[in-house]
Symmetry: C2
Subunit: 253 residues, 2 copies
């Protein structure tokens, strides 16, 4: 029997990445798409509590539709599991394919990762997949790796509370050196705000910046990607710092 | 010389909790308030990239103002550090006092925690403080504990990449048994969506649910709070699951 795979994303249901992913995954699984209606990048793990949420069908092609949720990526997954697919067994959740890397510190701002995290919280084996460029539009290689990794997760399972954050380099398939299991990189942003003035001469700020690449080993996601490896980082939502937990016991509160 | 403490929150600059916190912290520190203009609960670690951000002064009392940011908690802290306080040494960031618990899985949806996480990312020792009730309005005890813990952090420092997530029980001071260093609880939500119909007979969904308390030891934040302890959980933003990292090395990719 074919597995049932829930697909979501943060770029919105009409994004190229989700279509490329769904097209590839449909070859071996029943695919159900539940994704935000509009682009939701950098929303982090937002959920909508103070507003109603609406859902509508959107056709990706004839006879192939998805559910568009007026909410965040995490909303989409929560709603899919609790209502749209309520009594259905879901074997796997895949979030993506995101346009742009979700490596290092970006993970915590990522709507793509948050959809997969929500899946994990709800007990589904979950994978987030990103193509590491904002402009490179060839999603087919990333979809192929997503498909491969999905099959492995269906076979091996994942530890409870763990999801996979997959990043695929934006290069032709012949350039990709293989798959590496990695750690979240230590690279950070040298961000700042540009101060500007609107036509009414009132000031406003706009976020700008670039990533400072501090990771020197392919053990870390950022460097693995830059070295043309597909990066697979197991991540978790238990944020406890266990070293600090031990250390703080000696504080005199 | 007095330390300089940046205060933010997710309930908005006009919330009672931030005023109670600032009033107490001002007794030993220079306080600068930079907080969202409006209520931002459950925004997670959102940042605003596609829109301009405006800032305005808001007076909490005569001669005591804060900067209100039209954005998220993480935006507020980022903007504070990069523009408002650009060349100023900041000794500590405190986010809060939130109205409502930020324990167990709630941490990852929390705007209060995300403001403190952003502080940590930017290199500031950071603390998130929450009062564990949505209705109990007496913030003074929580402010007192925030003040005590702030002084300890100023004295001892925090490991790089680690922040403290503090929750204070919503009970009178005489009932509080002390401070415990805890782990993020395993309690989760049995959430679901209520299906409703609007006056035009179109359906919509509204999130509802309650927490399933699964933690049985005061080692965990949820149980510590229920046992009337102030809970201090050291958390981190390196999400790598190091056990799974080892385990996945044997997968045949």
């Amino acid at each position: 029997m074919k597995p049932t795979i829930l697909i979501s994303n943060d770029d919105g249901i009409e994004a190229e990445g989700i279509y490329a992913l769904a097209s590839k995954i449909r070859k071996f699984a029943n695919v159900i798409i539940v994704a935000p209606y509009t682009q939701q990048s950098a929303v982090g793990h937002s959920i909508t509590m103070s507003n109603p949420i609406r859902v509508r069908r959107v056709y990706l092609e004839k006879n192939f539709f998805g559910y568009a949720v007026e909410g965040t990526p995490a909303d989409s997954v929560k709603l899919a599991v609790h209502t749209i697919l309520k009594n259905k067994k879901i074997d796997l959740l895949i979030s993506g394919i995101n346009q742009g890397a979700n490596t290092a510190i970006n993970i915590i701002y990522s709507g793509t990762v948050s959809a997969a995290t929500e899946g994990t919280i709800l007990g589904l084996p979950s994978i987030a997949v990103s193509l590491t460029s904002y402009t490179y539009k060839k999603f087919s290689v990333a979809a192929e790796y997503a498909s491969k990794i999905a099959k492995l997760v269906l076979k091996n399972g994942l530890p409870s509370g763990t999801l996979l954050n997959v990043n695929v380099p934006a290069v032709p398939k012949s350039k990709i050196k293989g798959i590496l299991v990695t750690k979240q990189g230590k690279s950070s942003w040298n961000d700042t705000y540009e101060k500007r003035f609107d036509p009414g001469n009132r000031e406003y700020y706009w976020l700008t910046g670039s990533m400072l690449k501090l990771d020197e080993s392919v053990e870390f996601d950022v460097k693995a990607i830059d070295s043309n490896y597909v990066s697979v980082t197991p991540i978790q939502y238990d944020l406890t710092d266990y070293n600090a937990y031990q250390k703080l016991q000696s504080w005199k509160f």
